[in-house]
């Protein structure tokens, strides 16, 4: 009995010392996870998740401070990818229609040139200067809607991108069989 105790104590002590030494000696910093999460996020910088942009949200998810299903533009698809990356359970975001891509458009008749929207835009997609009318560079606009609330005259509207043969998509074939996945 005593031998057993001594042997086991010896083993555990030796291993404990080795582990303790290694933990101090081989310590590594840095968290590449946030970068991987950021790569999955859609980068609309819309802040609808409650964090001031995609990168901060990614960091919050990486540290475990945020749920993975808060990203609205990323939708269920994005949440699924995050779940896969993090090995967490996927939680659906609830019913939502797949939205067409929208861009902001400023009604140039109404705009008073207050520059409030310019300051709100997370991707600098609105150009103009004080007292001059502003305009949205639609190729850069992410449709995040952050410019809507600050506008004092409600001159900004989100419009759907027009369908052209270039961005028109073929439908999923409709057949008698059930859609999988």
């Amino acid at each position: 009995m005593l031998t057993a105790l001594l042997v086991m104590a010896g083993i555990t002590l030796a291993l404990g010392l080795a582990l303790g030494y290694a933990a101090v000696h081989f310590h590594v910093d840095g968290n590449p996870l946030a970068e991987q999460i950021d790569a999955i996020l859609p980068q609309t910088q819309c802040a609808q998740c409650g964090f001031p942009g995609c990168k901060p949200y990614a960091e919050a998810v990486a540290s475990g401070a945020a749920e993975i299903n808060l990203c609205t533009p990323g939708g269920d698809d994005g949440a699924k990818k995050l779940a896969e990356l993090l090995g967490r359970e996927f939680k659906p975001r609830g019913v939502q229609e797949e939205k067409l891509k929208t861009v902001a458009q400023i009604d140039e008749q109404t705009c008073i040139g207050c520059t409030l929207c310019i300051q709100a835009c997370p991707v600098d997609a609105i150009v103009g200067s004080a007292k001059q009318m502003h305009t949205v560079v639609s190729a850069i606009c992410t449709g995040c809607e952050l410019c809507l609330p600050p506008c004092p005259v409600d001159c900004i509207a989100l419009i759907e991108e027009p369908r052209t043969p270039q961005n028109w998509r073929w439908k999923y074939p409709r057949t008698g069989l059930r859609v999988v996945s």
């Binding site: 073929w170 008698g176 059930r178 999988v180």
Partner: protein, 335 residues
């Protein structure tokens, strides 16, 4: 609706399956002639159970019943199961086997085209593991009349020593385990004919004829049958040449058990076999080699089914690793 707006005429899954059924007829005819009409009863039971099970599942899953039921794939599976089992197994064994095949191996995976394992072989393996005794009682050729076979199928008592006979493979392996020489075994036993099992040679020949018909009609390609025969035959030949008294000849291997049924009807199943040309060859070669290994060293009497299931496991990997190069890729690879 988009292009193409025209299709090859007279081309359907039904047609493919019908060809397979027709190709099985010579083998079945020889079976009836040599062994007895009991097989027909088993075929009928298997067919009915298969159709009923398939219809029930489709109804449960609210899928179109008519189009899937009439594609003939369930009937093909049912016939292959009936032909793989001894023709005097009781009706309930056939029923369970078909249910395992149709429900377990096929429909739980989503139905035709989506199952990774060959339903017929999955059913056969399950049965041989679950009911080894019943699965090794084969009707002695020329010794059982239809009435006896029918009573056995319907669950009659199996005090039937005189009625069942060892198959050629069984007789061979029993002899070999007693360290008898191959030539001595062949000379002594009544189970053997000219080169395979007595009487069974005709059935095996019937399967081969059906297989050639499928090849001619381009329902199957040469890759799998040839590779399977090569895998089984060459491995057998190698050992037979070295020690002809301890290992039976390749001809014996090819002409006995489920070799021919396997070569033309099982390893050629498009769904569960590899699909690239090279993949098909690797797949069938593997089945042939494993079949020989199991027959020679294993504890189960027949290895084709296990070979098929084992290679089924590897199919996704084989397919992935044997992708043929696409148009223009060859030029790229050239320095």
């Amino acid at each position: 609706m988009s292009s193409p707006h025209i299709r090859r005429e007279n081309n359907s899954v039904q047609r493919v399956m019908a060809h397979v059924l027709v190709a099985l007829v010579p083998g079945i005819a020889a079976y009836v002639w040599q062994v007895g009409a009991g097989i027909l009863v088993n075929l009928a039971i298997a067919t009915l159970v298969a159709l009923a099970a398939e219809a029930a599942i489709l109804a449960l899953r609210k899928r179109p019943i008519a189009i899937t039921l009439t594609d003939g794939s369930a009937v093909v599976t049912a016939w292959l199961i009936a032909l793989a089992l001894p023709s005097i197994v009781p009706w309930w064994l056939t029923t369970i086997a078909v249910l395992v095949g149709i429900v377990g191996a096929k429909h739980l995976y989503g139905g035709i085209g989506q199952n990774p394992f060959n339903p017929a072989m999955a059913a056969y393996c399950t049965m041989i593991v679950a009911y080894p005794a019943l699965m090794s009682q084969w009707p002695a050729v020329g010794n059982t009349d239809f009435a006896t076979q029918l009573s056995l199928i319907l669950g009659g008592t199996r005090e039937i020593d005189g009625l069942t006979g060892a198959t050629a493979l069984d007789a061979m392996r029993t002899g070999l385990r007693k360290h008898e020489a191959v030539s001595a075994i062949l000379a002594n036993k009544t189970a053997f004919g000219a080169f395979g099992g007595r009487g069974w040679e005709w059935i095996v020949g019937g399967y081969a004829v059906g297989g050639l018909f499928l090849l001619w009609r381009r329902i199957i390609t040469w890759h799998q049958p040839l590779a399977f025969i090569a895998g089984l035959g060459l491995t057998a030949a190698l050992f037979w040449v070295i020690m002809p008294d301890r290992f039976p000849s390749p001809l014996f291997h090819l002409a006995s058990g489920g070799a021919m049924l396997g070569a033309f009807f099982i390893v050629t199943d498009p769904v569960t076999s590899a699909s690239t040309p090279l993949g098909k060859i690797i797949f069938a070669l593997g089945v042939g080699i494993i079949a020989w290994l199991v027959r020679t060293f294993g504890v189960y009497p027949e290895g084709v089914a296990f070979g098929v299931l084992l290679m089924n496991i590897a199919v996704p990997l084989i397919d992935r690793k044997t992708q043929p190069s696409v148009f223009g890729e060859r030029e790229e690879k050239r320095p």
